[in-house]
Amino acid sequence: MEIDREGQYIYSDAELDRYEGQVIEDLKASSVESIPDPDAWLEEAKRNILLTSVDWVLDWAKRSSLWTAVCYPACCGLEWMATLAPRFDAARFGMEIMRASPRQADLLLTAGTLTWKMAPVVRRIYNQMPEPKWVIAMGACAISGGIFRSSYNVVPGYNKIVPVDVYVPGCPPRPEALIYGIQMLQKKIAKAHSVPDLPKLPGLPGLKQKGNR
């Protein structure tokens, strides 16, 4: 088969590559410190114990219909699929619906190793989710980078990129462990009396050219 040497591949766009590399380098440089876990509002909830029944209903609705955004870069995703399947049946917790669009999701379940090349995408998914939103870091890689922590290309923990509410250890965690983590998150949501004050994360710079969407 002859290859058209003159013709340009559709994915060959040097400017887009440079932009992507710059975005990754910038994110890497700004992600040295971990983002603190959003738990300050839990303390606050203890002080203001007066929860109205409206708040209680809202919290019940929020915690009982956690819809997850799709973010499964590695093998933990299979355990999460097992959790969704009939034997473990995540539908019992009102979360059987997977959202392909982050704009309809409440929970970012991060199942798997995150590489720096993927990190801007995860940040973008998180920024696109409407508040209130929560993050579960599932598995050793999501918590700290796991066995790949010292690799040249792996983010040492999702909390460098997004604020994490619940950490579920394991490599990978069993579905029971994940369900326990989900229940912990539900308890955490039940304690909240209002929309939690989440840190505002910077978005990604736009690309001023035809490739921009």
Partner: protein, 147 residues
């Protein structure tokens, strides 16, 4: 099952056709000089009786003093396979001719080798990083890579 072709036999055939091209005929592989790589590969691909039309994989090995690029070819006609190797020297800009003109499937694999080993393939239509991003320092699969 695919059986490996006798490398002695094929090396004799190749050195008759291209004098000086064969550096070494190992137990199951043929080492050719990189200047002759394209000619030898085209000969293996197109000659009747050989017809190594299928490229299983391209990979590379770092031996510190040189890099070895390895091609496994399979003949679907005679159900035989051969391993073709070539060497390139120097750590700053080692280069090997690209075989994308013969086997288009080599495109991404040569890009992967360029990305992770830093071997450039002359004549590749779109030689740029495949896995890592533009601006990543170094080539991580080299033995002397330190992050």
């Amino acid at each position: 099952m695919t059986v490996a072709i006798s490398s002695k036999e094929i090396a004799d055939q190749l050195s008759g056709k291209f004098p000086g091209a064969i550096e070494e005929a190992g137990k199951d592989s043929v080492l050719v000089k990189s200047d002759f790589l394209l000619k030898v590969a085209a000969y293996l691909k197109d000659t009747d009786g050989l017809k190594f039309a299928y490229l299983n994989y391209v990979t590379a090995v770092d031996f510190y003093s040189y890099f070895e690029v390895v091609y496994q070819l399979t003949s679907l006609e005679s159900n035989r396979s051969v391993i073709l190797k070539t060497r390139c020297y120097g750590r700053d800009n080692p280069s090997v001719p690209s075989v994308t003109g013969l086997w288009q499937g080599a495109d991404f694999q040569e890009r992967e080798i360029y990305d992770l080993m830093g071997i450039s393939f002359e004549g590749h239509p779109n030689l740029k990083r495949l896995f890592l991003w533009d601006g990543f320092p170094g080539h991580p699969l080299r033995k002397d890579f330190n992050r």
